[in-house]
């Protein structure tokens, strides 16, 4: 019997980000935002520049492939990336704050434009179905859309306070259903086009007065040639919203991370071209122009379903499928706007430019619920102000997406020069090697397109420009003031670390209460102590398959004579776990971090390893004692704690350091 307990307190880290998702789920999160524009982009573009809209929507979707390429390179460079981190690295904090402020404006609009569109689709469907059921109720389109949008926003507000994992599952189900409906719709449209024949839409955009914005004051800027193309492209670019979400979910993607990112990108691109691009194009071929501009302006794909060849009941059934899929996807976009905005604001908060108050974690769910509350509040206000006018929302949209993509692309170009030595696992194509620099000609061409569209949109989209600038200025001020407050706090207390991680820690009375959470066939215990010495954890994350292996990361704090049970973690202890979480994210592998107070770290290792039934213990080398002494102390602790009747399961003990390792068997 051992006379004294080895540790009194066990803390288990249970932040949501420590579980990772497949590329399908990652793609579905992005698509719920990015792909949902299929339901409204065509109608809004038609409203802005007439029947040429499908060419430009398709053009934007093809252009999305290039943007996905830029984001792929930036995601691989910065696991916890996104526009803020990328721009900060390339251009500094001021530009980063500006770009992220603009981006938050877009997230704030994504929810309302999606939920209102869903309400309009549903209202339109009810308008067709209720008379068949002899229900004499005229659905008030916009009012209905506003009420529906508020309910949806409320629902996802609660879902996001609960955490991302459940939401990612929902997104995958939604996208799978939407894909099935899209295939049926495309096939049926093909049959209709075959029997009816078709005429390609005109390529020349004809702008409405509102769509010209301030350019009416500059007659030489009117619509002709390349300027007209850029103007129309700018009005269609709202279909591109949602790519930033890719950067936000990259940290959640499971191992092998880069390959899974590439797969997700291909899925997103193909889905977008065929779903948003092709369906919008087909709509223009099948639906008469006056109906696109009128009856189906705010529910284009419903119009496509109803204008197909076939009996009315069949077309109505198709409309039901389109509306159900659309409503699901659009409400999924509401969720994505929460996830994306939350992710972006968390990144900036980690950098100390959003007051720590926002990052307070929900006691039960471990989510940054105050940020989620703020996003919900802004979205509700926008829904109420819009009064269900999808064109007003469309007019305001795309400011942030263009600004953030422009900043992101410019930053990636700068980083090719600034971080020239950094090895890149993947580079955006079309590069010219000059000395040791890969001059990014391809990205420069993309930037030229973005800068042209941004400049033109500033002139043509009045609501977006005014609303975007005001919103950006307000958020910039919030970031600026927060930063100053945090700096002041840092002078009086402790300096904030660059990657300060808010953690949700669960206190357990005993290690045995944690053991049932270990469900995989193999278990590896990785003791950690120094955040700058995690070579051994890296080697485990590089080689171990976390599908069948629980990776238990143990940090033991030396506390002599612990008795009371009231011990708490210090900033240094949290720093160790932050480093562990960052590393787990980098490799996309799930770890189980456990923190214990102990009067001897080797007893803790032996006790946790025996309680968990570990197959391996992988230690980093200690600079003060050396590998042999570490193994000796572990062997003694192991023997002392081992019960005589315990099964003689072989347990490997390893000490790993740069390029070397010592392996012995504990018995």
């Amino acid at each position: 019997m051992v006379p004294n307990p080895k540790f009194k307190q066990v803390f288990v880290l249970s932040t949501a980000m420590l579980s990772f998702i497949s590329f399908w789920k990652a793609a579905s999160i992005v698509l719920c935002d990015f792909g949902s524009s299929a339901y409204y982009a065509g109608g809004i573009a038609m409203n802005a520049f007439g029947p040429a809209f499908p060419w430009f929507i398709m053009g934007v979707m093809l252009f999305s492939g290039l943007m996905l390429g830029v984001y792929t390179e930036s995601c691989i460079m910065f696991v916890r990336g996104g526009v803020y981190v990328v721009v900060r690295e390339a251009m500094g904090k001021v530009m980063a704050k500006l770009s992220v402020s603009a981006l938050v404006f877009d997230y704030a609009l994504t929810g309302p434009i999606s939920s209102v569109t869903a309400g309009l689709y549903l209202g339109s469907l009810l308008g067709n179905i209720l008379p068949l059921l002899h229900i004499n109720w005229h659905v008030p389109g916009r009012t209905f859309a506003v009420v529906f949008a508020l309910i949806v926003t409320g629902y996802f507000w609660l879902e996001n306070i609960r955490g991302i994992e459940e939401s990612a599952d929902n997104n995958l189900k939604i996208i799978s259903f939407v894909a099935v409906v899209a295939v049926v719709l495309i096939a049926w449209s093909g049959v209709t086009l075959y029997s009816r024949g078709f005429t390609l839409p005109p390529f020349r955009p004809v702008f409405s007065h509102e769509a010209l914005g301030w350019t009416v004051n500059f007659p030489w800027l009117r619509t002709a040639g390349l300027i007209g193309l850029v103007m129309a492209f700018g009005h269609s670019i709202l279909a591109l919203s949602g790519l930033e979400t890719l950067a936000q979910v990259y940290r959640e993607i499971e191992d092998p991370k880069v390959q899974n990112l590439k797969k997700a990108v291909v899925v997103i691109f193909l889905f977008s071209v065929f779903f948003t691009g092709l369906l919008t194009f087909i709509s223009a071929l099948i639906i008469p122009g006056d109906l696109i501009a009128g009856k189906y302006a705010d529910n284009l794909l419903s119009g496509l379903a109803l204008e197909l060849n076939g009996p009315y009941w069949g077309r109505l059934a198709m409309q039901v499928a389109v509306v159900v899929s659309g409503v699901l996807m659009l409400v999924g976009a509401v969720n994505t706007s929460f996830v994306g905005a939350n992710g972006v604001l968390n990144r900036v908060a980690e950098d100390g430019i959003l007051h720590d108050w926002f990052r307070h974690l929900h006691k039960k769910f471990g989510t940054t619920y105050r940020i989620v509350n703020l996003i919900a509040l802004i979205q509700v206000l926008i829904i109420l102000v819009s009064r269900g006018d999808i064109f007003l929302l469309g007019e305001a949209y795309a400011f942030g997406v263009l600004v953030s993509m422009t900043f992101n692309t410019a930053s990636m170009i700068i980083l090719r020069f600034k971080h020239r030595e950094e090895e890149r696992e993947w580079m955006f194509p079309l590069n010219i090697k000059y000395n040791n620099i890969y001059v990014p000609v391809g990205m420069m061409l993309v930037l030229a397109v973005l800068v042209s569209a941004t400049g033109m949109n500033l002139l043509t989209k009045k609501v977006a420009t005014i609303g975007g600038l005001i919103f950006t200025a307000v958020f910039y001020m919030i970031f600026h003031v927060s930063e100053k407050m945090n700096e002041k706090k840092a002078r009086f207390y402790a300096p904030d670390d660059d990657n300060d991680e808010k953690m949700n820690l669960r206190r357990e009375a005993d290690i045995h209460t944690v053991v049932p959470e270990l469900t995989k066939t193999r278990r590896i215990l990785v003791p950690v102590r120094n955040p700058n010495n995690l070579v051994h954890l890296t080697s485990v994350l590089e080689t171990v398959n976390d599908d069948d292996t629980d990776i238990i990361v143990l940090s033991a704090k030396i506390a002599r004579g612990i008795q009371s049970g009231g011990e708490t973690m210090s900033d240094e202890d949290r720093e160790v776990f932050s480093a562990v979480v960052l590393l787990a994210e980098k490799y996309g592998k799930t770890v189980k971090p456990i923190f214990v107070f102990s009067n001897d770290p080797f007893y803790s290792m032996a006790q946790v390893a025996q309680a968990a039934g570990a197959d391996e213990i992988v230690m980093g080398v200690s600079g003060s004692s050396g590998a042999e002494i570490q193994l000796e102390r572990l062997a003694m602790a192991w023997g002392m704690l081992k019960k005589a009747d315990a099964p003689s399961k072989p347990v490997l003990a390893k000490v790993v350091w740069e390029g070397r390792q010592m392996t012995y068997q504990l018995s």
Partner: protein, 156 residues
Amino acid sequence: MIRQPDGVSLAALLTPENVIFLEGKPSKEEAVRQLTERILPQVSGLIARKALFDRVAEVEKLNPVLESGFYIPHAKFPELDNFHAVLGLLPGGFIDPVTGINVKAVLLLLSPHKPAFFQRHLNMLSLLSQTFQPELIEKLAALKDQSAAAALIKGK
């Protein structure tokens, strides 16, 4: 009897001649010094007296007292081909200045310093710490006779 998979056994190592009772209340250093004197004949001709005392004094500071109240100062020497050990039993015990634990059993272990032997060295440390649990230490410290102590260890 507790036995390691590689056949490491305490019975052969801790014969009655290798068990001593340290009377009074010696300090930790004094207890280790007495055990070193006792083990010296086993390794004379292989390790010089000064080298042995110097090395043991060094490890005496490095090796921690186990929570069970058992203390294993251990040193490795390239000149050795086998384990050598002496067990000191202290009925009065001494208080370890670092941990405050009352120590009633000290085992000085000398091992070969050879890479191929390190696994056996670890097994021996594990076996010793598994064997010398508080109940056994109390029983051993209460005995007066070396043979009885060796027999009690053998019976574990």
